[in-house]
């Protein structure tokens, strides 16, 4: 999933982020979804949106709430899949903080393709204390994030 993200830009002062993803039509993941007409599953659209919302809420929590935690997608609320996303497709993702407290931060996310809104939802990110066993995963995530930010 991470390989599909292209760039991310975070405006933490205003609680907003935007990102771009590209999903090819010939990815093996979509071979049977569906043969000859690749369609991006809604769950993957949500996951891509969470890739933008996660870093946003972590930076927001760090700078605005003074807590340094690891954001994990905990709940999806009011998700609407407005248009099918046929592949290949370039997705533009925006996220805005809608509610924040120390245990969870919510972000309203919108995904568009060619200027058309295809999905909107509220993602509730659970803010977890990181432990030593997460160190490698967090380091890899930080490397990815740095690359995505550089590309924006």
């Amino acid at each position: 999933m991470f390989e599909l993200m292209r760039s991310i830009s975070i405006d933490v002062a205003n609680g907003r982020a935007s990102g771009a993803a590209f999903v090819p039509g010939d990815h093996s993941l979509f071979a049977d979804h569906f043969p000859g007409k690749s369609l991006l599953p809604g769950s993957l659209i949500l996951e891509l949106a969470a890739q933008v919302a996660g870093p946003l809420v972590e930076e927001f929590a760090k700078t605005q709430l003074q807590i340094e935690r690891w954001a994990i997608l905990g709940m999806v609320r009011d998700a609407r899949f407005l248009q099918p996303v046929f592949l290949p497709a370039s997705l533009e993702i925006t996220a805005a903080i809608s509610r924040s407290q120390s245990s969870n931060v919510s972000a309203s996310v919108t995904v568009t393709v060619s200027g058309e809104r295809v999905m909107q939802a509220e993602l509730v990110m659970m803010m977890l204390e990181s432990s030593a066993e997460w160190a490698v995963a967090i380091e890899a995530r930080n490397d990815r994030l740095a690359r995505w930010k550089e590309a924006s």
């Binding site: 905990g74 709940m75 609320r77 407290q101 120390s102 245990s103 969870n104 509730v124």
Partner: protein
């Protein structure tokens, strides 16, 4: 005086949270975590539903602040564990929760675990009354 049946509305939202059928009874005396099988995510989901439905805000730590009242922070909890005075205040607030449910050490972050459906209904009534008072005095 409001004729709103908050208790019935809360019961509907509890059923929606757990995807229970309408025929499933939800009673004021039921404990969320012990009787209804709630998880912390279910409780968070219910809080979102309550906020949206009743147009109120229930921020993190609401039970803690209501239980503490005017008591000084240090008298209510030490190192995030309730003192004896804090424990008594919590049990007075959650008077319909069976006493044996409360453990010897009550961590400050676990207070919602001890709530009954009735306690959350009272919380909603309290928030609605405060909201109504705020509107009248703007």
């Amino acid at each position: 005086m409001s004729t709103r049946d908050t208790s019935a509305e809360v019961a509907v939202l509890v059923r929606q949270t757990l995807a229970l059928p309408e025929s499933e009874p939800v009673q004021p005396g039921q404990l969320f975590f012990y009787d209804l099988g709630f998880t912390s995510m279910d409780l968070l989901d219910l809080l979102f539903r309550l906020e949206q439905h009743f147009k109120i805000e229930i921020p993190e730590g609401t039970i803690y602040h209501l239980a503490r009242g005017e008591l000084a922070e240090a008298e209510f909890a030490e190192d995030a564990v309730l003192t004896e005075a804090g424990r008594q205040r919590l049990m007075a607030l959650l008077y319909d929760t069976p006493r044996e449910i409360f453990p010897a050490r009550i961590h400050a972050t676990t207070l919602p675990r001890f709530c009954t459906v009735g306690a959350i209904t009272r919380l909603v009534d309290h928030k609605l009354a405060a909201s109504s008072w705020d509107k009248r005095n703007v």
